[in-house]
Amino acid sequence: MNVALFIPCYIDQFYPQVAIATLQLLEKFGCKVSYPLKQTCCGQPMANSGFEHLSTACNELFVENFSGYDYIVSPSGSCTLHIKEHLHTARHTQAEEQIRTQVYELTEFLVDVLKVQTLQAKFPYKVGMHQSCHGQRGLHLSQMTELNAAPFSKPGSLLNMVEGLELVTLDRPDECCGFGGTFCVTEEAVSAKMGKDRVADHVTHKADYITAADMSCLMHLEGILKRQKSATKIIHIAEILNAG
């Protein structure tokens, strides 16, 4: 199985350990993983700000980089969703259509494609799971509390396979953290307040770590935790699943 690793720009630059964990995890499950070296970004920062037209070059670059693989896997629900919903080029090629259906967020790839039943991971900590909105409501990685529907959670089921890990229960299991892309600076007051409230829910429930399938939410929550000099830390789910 030929898997292309799609690493969001800010993970590449600021959280390389998340990308390394993703790569190693996929390799553990026998995937032949390649990392196309000319990748940059999915284009979401521009598109979500209303500048979709400025992401044309990003889209074309993405198609160039990621054509011809069996699957494309990314440790980000948000970037994956963006590709699924908005990867369009002027040429409307079959390649881009294929990419939109082949791109998977890491935990959904592990659960739905690799059908992972057991993990060798060990992580003896109390962990709060943050449901990143685009992964949850966009990709349906977990059931949403608004809906009257049977509960499930792909990242949750994987975390439950980790030895020693204890998931904490949150008061608001799927409230947005307030990152929101450029929202985090254009609506700084609300963004920061949402982040503080999310952090407080995890800290109150004594989480040692906050984890998520999206590093952008965690980067925002980490900024708040560090400012508060909190003992609670953030960790991407790939790092937990690859731990021990």
Partner: protein, 462 residues
């Protein structure tokens, strides 16, 4: 539109709102409580998601056949003895109401359950013409006494604490100073309004649903003021946006089950009042208002926002609304639904609103008529930028970002430079010019990007 002479952008109003963090916490918890009530009651009905789907399909049908249903409604309403008026915009709506009142020499009117008249600025218009309007619903009355616009379409005074309401009532209704017991205050308001009802000859109500096949309309209330006003007055004027039409009476069985559960977590509103024909010696008027709706209907990406039944569930669930308050949306309809309705009315004035969201999608999930609210927010952003309403600084930074991310080489260099800066000269970014840094630390910058790591550690094996 009313109350919006000096529009403050959402982000700025939200920053002011957030200066009192304890109050933000209170506001958030109050609305979250309603969201939880809504969850509880909607999760107790097995067919909830099916009901939402029915409601959505009925409304889709309405939007596709709006003119026919409106004409059918008009014909049946006229047969029933109702006088039907058509208003192209807010000004026409206000003039029609004014004309009816003048014909009857009425200079005082009671009003209940109408966000449309807020949208049209009717109160200010009539007051300027010497006509007194008394809002009879408690929440509306409170904000009217405070000379403020409603902050929520269902819970207009949700931004006010009971102590503040006590103070307001002490000042205007003569209740005891310092009294804040909700029961006491409600009784005082009721007493005061009872007198008002008995002396007013005209009553204006909103409309929740107008039934095309019967020519009747339905008003859903908890306090019963719409009934009391309409029954005691000589003239009943009902104002509705043209999208409030439903084809058949049986469709109420879907909407009445969804409306109150979504709005407040009640099984149904206390009163679902059906008005079909005037009583003897009484006049009944209905004003069908367009005010931008036909234009909205013509916008394919945005038309289904007109399915809205004004339950307010998207506001209660919106993490941004809960932490910025209804007034920050500077419109009669606030929150996520307001942010997709109002750019159609005035794109320049409301260009900030589709950006007042993280696109988390919770609004779409609670919407009882399945409006794709967060997708429309995304689409409005594109339209607003295309139409030239993006701030200049944002345009410039987006151009740079687009340029950097379109070239792998420039991207690698820019990334390296950014990490170097963060490591070696952090004061360049860790200052008050950087909104991120105000309440958050910047991420630590590693020496090596993943790509650099990969080139040294893996490329050799390939």
């Amino acid at each position: 539109m009313s109350h919006t002479k000096n529009t403050i952008a959402h982000a700025d109003a939200a920053a002011v709102f957030n200066k009192d963090e304890a109050r933000v916490n209170w506001h958030d918890k109050t609305l979250w409580f309603i969201r939880e009530k809504r969850d509880k009651i909607s999760h107790s009905i097995d067919e909830w998601e099916q009901l939402r789907e029915y409601a959505s399909q009925i409304k889709n049908n309405v939007l596709s056949n709006l003119s026919e249903y409106l004409q059918q409604f008009e014909a049946n309403a006229i047969t029933n003895g109702i006088t039907v008026h058509w208003a192209a915009d807010a000004a026409e709506h206000n003039a029609i109401v004014h004309r009816i009142l003048k014909q009857h020499n009425i200079d005082r009117m009671v009003k209940s359950k109408s966000m449309l008249t807020e949208e049209c600025g009717l109160n200010e218009y009539l007051e300027a013409s010497g006509i007194e309007v008394i809002d009879t619903d408690l929440g509306e009355r409170i904000v009217q006494l405070a000379a403020e616009p409603p902050s929520h379409i269902v819970l207009p005074c949700i931004h006010k604490k009971k102590e503040e309401i006590g103070e307001l009532f002490h000042e205007h209704l003569g209740t005891e100073k310092g009294a804040s017991d909700p029961e006491y205050l409600t009784a005082a308001a009721r007493q005061h309004l009872r007198e008002t009802f008995l002396t007013r000859r005209a009553a204006l109500t909103g409309v929740n649903f107008a039934v095309a096949e019967t020519g009747e309309f339905v008003v859903c209330t908890n306090e019963g003021n719409a009934d009391m006003g309409a029954h005691l007055a000589d003239v009943h004027i009902a104002c509705m946006g043209i999208e409030k039409i439903i084809p058949q009476q049986q469709h109420l069985s879907v909407f009445l089950r969804l409306l109150a559960r979504s709005a407040t977590g009640q099984p149904i509103t206390t009163y679902s009042s059906h008005f079909k024909k005037p009583q003897p010696q009484q006049q009944m008027h209905i004003v069908l208002v367009d005010n931008g709706r036909s234009i909205h209907l013509g916008k394919e990406d945005f038309r289904n926002a007109l399915k809205c039944i004004r339950c307010g569930a998207c506001m209660n669930t919106c993490p941004v609304y809960r932490r910025s308050g209804g007034h920050s949306y500077h419109n009669a309809v606030a929150g996520p639904i307001g942010s997709i309705l109002t750019p159609n009315m005035d794109m320049k004035k409301n260009a900030d609103l589709p950006f007042a969201s993280t696109l988390c999608g919770s609004c779409t999930n609670v919407c009882p008529v399945k409006i794709d609210i967060h997708d429309q927010l995304y689409k409005w952003r594109q339209v607003i930028v295309q139409e030239g309403y993006a701030p200049t600084a944002k345009k410039a930074s987006m151009n740079v970002m687009g340029w950097v991310l379109s070239s792998p080489k420039i991207y690698d260099m820019a990334g390296k430079a950014a990490r170097w800066t963060l490591r070696n000269t952090p004061f360049v970014v860790n200052n008050k010019l950087n909104p991120w840094f105000k309440e958050r630390e910047m991420p630590a910058a590693p020496k090596q990007s993943f790509k650099e790591w990969y080139k040294t550690n893996r490329k050799i094996h390939e």
